[in-house]
Symmetry: C2
Subunit: 151 residues, 2 copies
Amino acid sequence: MTPLGGRSYDRNVPGATQETIARLEGQGHRVTGSRRAVLDAIAGTVTPFTVEDICLAAPDVGRATVFRTVKLLQDLDVVCRLPLGDGGVRYQLSQSEHHHHLICESCGAVSEFSDPELDALIRRNARREGFRLDGHSLELYGLCPACQPGG
Amino acid sequence: MTPLGGRSYDRNVPGATQETIARLEGQGHRVTGSRRAVLDAIAGTVTPFTVEDICLAAPDVGRATVFRTVKLLQDLDVVCRLPLGDGGVRYQLSQSEHHHHLICESCGAVSEFSDPELDALIRRNARREGFRLDGHSLELYGLCPACQPGG
DNA sequence: CTACATGCAAATTGTTTGCATAGTT
DNA sequence: AACTATGCAAACAATTTGCATGTAG
C-alpha cells in the first residue's frame, strides 16, 4: 500500500485509490465506473465508514454493487471490517500500521491513535494464551475533549 | 460452533441466575416464566451464546421475547454483546472482572483474558488524547491452540 | 386490579442473489 | 467478441414493533 507516513486521522490519502486500481487490474478484476466511484467515496470519507456512507456519497451506484465492491475490497485486503461495540458494521482502509479508535459517545466522532507498547502487550497476552495472533481491534468509548462538560 | 475445551471458564455459574432474578426484582422488573426460562438457557450455555441458542434451549419462549429479554439483560449489565469479526452477534455473561476476548477464526471459540497492565496502558492513551474514558472493548483474532497447524 | 410482559405476525433494516443488460478488456 | 460487472427487484436473514391477551405484583 501507499507508504503514507501521514497523520493518523481525518481523511484517507488520495493515492490509495490509484494504488487500489492498480491492484484490481493486477488481479484480473475490471476497473469500472462503479468501482472508481466507490473508491473515490471511500477516499473522501472519514474513517471508519458504513456501507450507507458509500451509498450516499456514490448515489449512482446500486446498493448491491456497493456491497459487492466492499466485499471485493475486503478480499483484496484494501479495506477491513471493523466490529464496533454497538453492533454496527463499519469498514476502513487497511492501513499499514495498526491503530485503534477513540469513539465519542456524544458526538460520534472517531479518532485514532496507535501505541507500539500497547500492541506489544497485546501480542504478549496472545502468546501467553497459546494463540497465533492474526489481528486485533480495540475501541475506546468515552467523551472527546470537545464534548466534555467544561471542555 | 465448537466449544472451547478444557478451560476454566466453560460454563456459566449456576448462582448467576438467582442473582439476576434478585436484580430484576430490585429494579422493579417482573420475574416471569419466560425470563426464568431465558436465564436458565443462558446458564446452561457455553459462552458466548447467540439469540438462536436461547430460542432452541427455551422453545416455549417467543423470539421477540428472547430479543427483549436479552436487551433487558444488557441494560442490567447481566450480559454483554460481543462484536465478532465475522459479523455474527453473540452475548455472554458480564463477568465480574473486566476481560478481553481471544477469538479463533477457525473454530469460533472465544476465550478470555484480562491484564491490568493492558488496561492501565489503555487509560493512559485515552488521557493523552484528552478523552474521558467510559469503557473499551478489545478483541484479538487468530488461531486457538487446537486450530494451529501442527498444534 | 393495574400495569407490565408476552406471543404472534407484520414491519423494518441489512445483506445477498437471480437474471437480463451494459460495459471492460 | 467474450466475459465480467451492474442494476433492479425479489429473496433472505436478523431484529423490532403494534396490538390484543395473559399474568405478576
